[in-house]
Homo-oligomer: 369 residues x 2
């Protein structure tokens, strides 16, 4: 036998995973990107106060972070009007989704998501042996009613639902989501990923009772707060569920610099408002560039704009490749028919200028294929 | 039924965990510690070049870190004379131990460790349903031959072995460890935790063939490199085992600032040499303070010194409490008879001065109990 006795589950998992960073592409291309508009990072960066807090925290990084993230959780509880025991802080939403899958999913357990939704969630569910049931988008929106209906059919333990959605940028009102909770199957938890909600208009964030055991809400400092590389996310939920993370999480896993940065970022809501205003401006400009090129965009409540390239996935992929060939890092949805689109993160003016210059050539390239 | 349907494993896990940070103690005491000598952090801090690299990386934290940690892995491979595919970077050794447990352990699988060794490893093994078999220390050393013998008895998948050891600070020569590999059972992997090895004399690091499938070596930037709060560890092992981490790890889990800091820290070996010299000085001084108080110390190859308080665990706990009451944060071993000791991390001169002043009173307090 081979020396290494992996678990049966580990043996069954695919060796290749969908996580390819822009740096990997840059190494393969042997040239850097000129505009980084593919990962829905916030090019406007973190609050200057958060930058200052992180730089000041650097010399103290010889100390482990507080395993309770107490100060940050206290601030988040005050911000959201919850108790501290409604909140767990983790290594980004990605890390928290992994912990949640581990707590809930054993081999054969069913989970419902949208076909083409967040691959990292799927990765974690599959990584614990869960069975994913994928519901098509409807009119480029996640189909909440159909997700819930499927959860009834398969006795799902979890439904993943991002609001606003990635990769389409579309959304439901928070009121619609609250209303839908009553139709969830018994024993099914709605994983409400609000990663982009800071970029959304009022009324999109679902004002869920934090003690409601039927839903766990995920938030992050990676998007609106501009700290993707700091890996700080948090989940809001019923204390029993939140406390269960303590059974399995990496207690000393939080970066001390990031804890300080997130605390300062949360306190600077004026910066967040300015960033979301810049994002709105960038969204409008991306929309205009698309229109100038005869393309439609989806109305977005996020820090990116999804452009309908007007044909099929092969055509959109050719447009994407044409942009990448011109050193513009962008990505596109995976699943039909959403893969007729490409997804452009909101950049600085200079980034969008580069995109504006590159798009016509990319379209010419695609049309000439 | 309860709304939340945890896995059977999650339901079975204890709600309370052994991870209590000094901040938690400070909040309970309502007063900060004056000297932080309990978590084996490196009070001498990271290289000034690493501090500079991290501070410069802060404004770029809007970008995710490279999911491959390519530059850091390339530098580590060059440093260790391995190939890049021998190395996986993760969120501290803690994070990597969790991934390893997940890859290898399913409920009922046996794992061998020393009674009183690293609790985080035990936590991860138990967290995946593994059965821990604990072997007593012998003469305050981990008992490598007995660990291997027990692994044969129980068909263990993993043996955990820290060299140098925590919490005792004792060690084996690397040559002894290499020689022991031939007596490992078929299908058993030695998890060689070298967290403290940068503080050890020449010959302690085991020069294992990185392609040897019988061992995985764990290293960290938390101890000698002084970056505990940055959460950067790495494992060296056979490519098949290293590649398997990609099936389950949090691909975008690495902090971008920490990646930059670790790269700069690794390049500044002169700083590491200076720090290890300071650690040697502190170890000698702690030894002298103990001797001045009539206590013996264990010879240490780490950044801490274990002091034998000369009686039982109750007495050592009273000494510990007496130090904490004087605002000195220290910890002690868990298991008998090692719990006759307390463990003092190497501090700056000012920290050790405080310890020197506090120890006689703590001993008086313990003796008067």
């Amino acid at each position: 036998m081979s020396h290494t006795r992996y678990t049966r589950l580990a043996q069954s998992l695919p060796a290749s995973v969908p996580f390819v960073g822009p740096e990997t592409q840059e190494r393969a291309r042997k040239t850097p990107f000129a505009a980084r508009l593919g990962a829905n990072e916030c090019v406007f960066g973190p609050s200057p106060l958060a930058i200052k807090a992180m730089q000041e925290a650097v010399p103290d990084v010889w100390m482990y972070g507080d395993p309770e993230s107490y100060d940050l959780r206290a601030a988040l509880a005050a911000f959201h009007g919850t108790r501290m025991d409604n909140i767990v802080v983790g290594e980004g939403i990605d890390g928290l989704l992994g912990y949640l899958a581990r707590l809930m999913i054993e081999p054969g357990d069913c989970v419902v998501t949208s076909d083409g939704a967040y691959p990292t969630f799927n990765y974690h569910v599959a990584g614990f042996g869960g069975v994913l049931h994928k519901v098509p988008y409807r009119d480029d929106h996640e189909d909440l009613a159909a997700l819930i209906a499927r959860a009834h059919d398969v006795d799902a333990k979890l439904i993943y639902f991002a609001n606003p959605d990635n990769p389409m940028g579309t959304w439901y009102s928070g009121a619609d989501i609250r209303a839908a909770l009553d139709s969830l199957p018994q024993g099914c938890i709605l994983v409400l990923d609000e990663a982009y909600v800071e970029c959304a208009p009022a009324g999109v964030a679902a004002q869920v009772d934090p003690h409601d055991p039927r839903v766990i809400t995920m938030r992050t400092f990676s998007k609106g707060y501009g700290m993707a590389g700091a890996r700080v996310g948090y989940a809001i939920g019923a204390p029993d569920l939140i406390r269960s993370f303590d059974k399995i999480r990496n207690h000393f896993g939080m970066n001390r610099i990031s804890q300080a940065g997130a605390l300062a970022a949360l306190a600077d809501q004026a910066w967040l408002a300015q960033v979301t205003s810049e994002i709105e401006t960038a969204r409008a400009r991306i929309g205009k560039i698309a229109a100038d090129n005869g393309l439609k965009t989806l109305t977005s409540a996020t820090n990116f704009v999804t452009i309908d390239c007007g044909a099929d996935g092969i055509f959109a992929k050719a447009v994407l490749d044409g942009l990448i060939a011109q050193d513009i890092f962008v990505r596109m949805p995976f699943a039909e028919p959403q893969n007729r689109c490409i997804r452009i993160s909101c950049g600085q003016k200079a980034d969008i200028d580069l995109f504006a210059a590159a798009l016509p050539k990319a379209l010419d390239h695609a049309r000439s294929d």
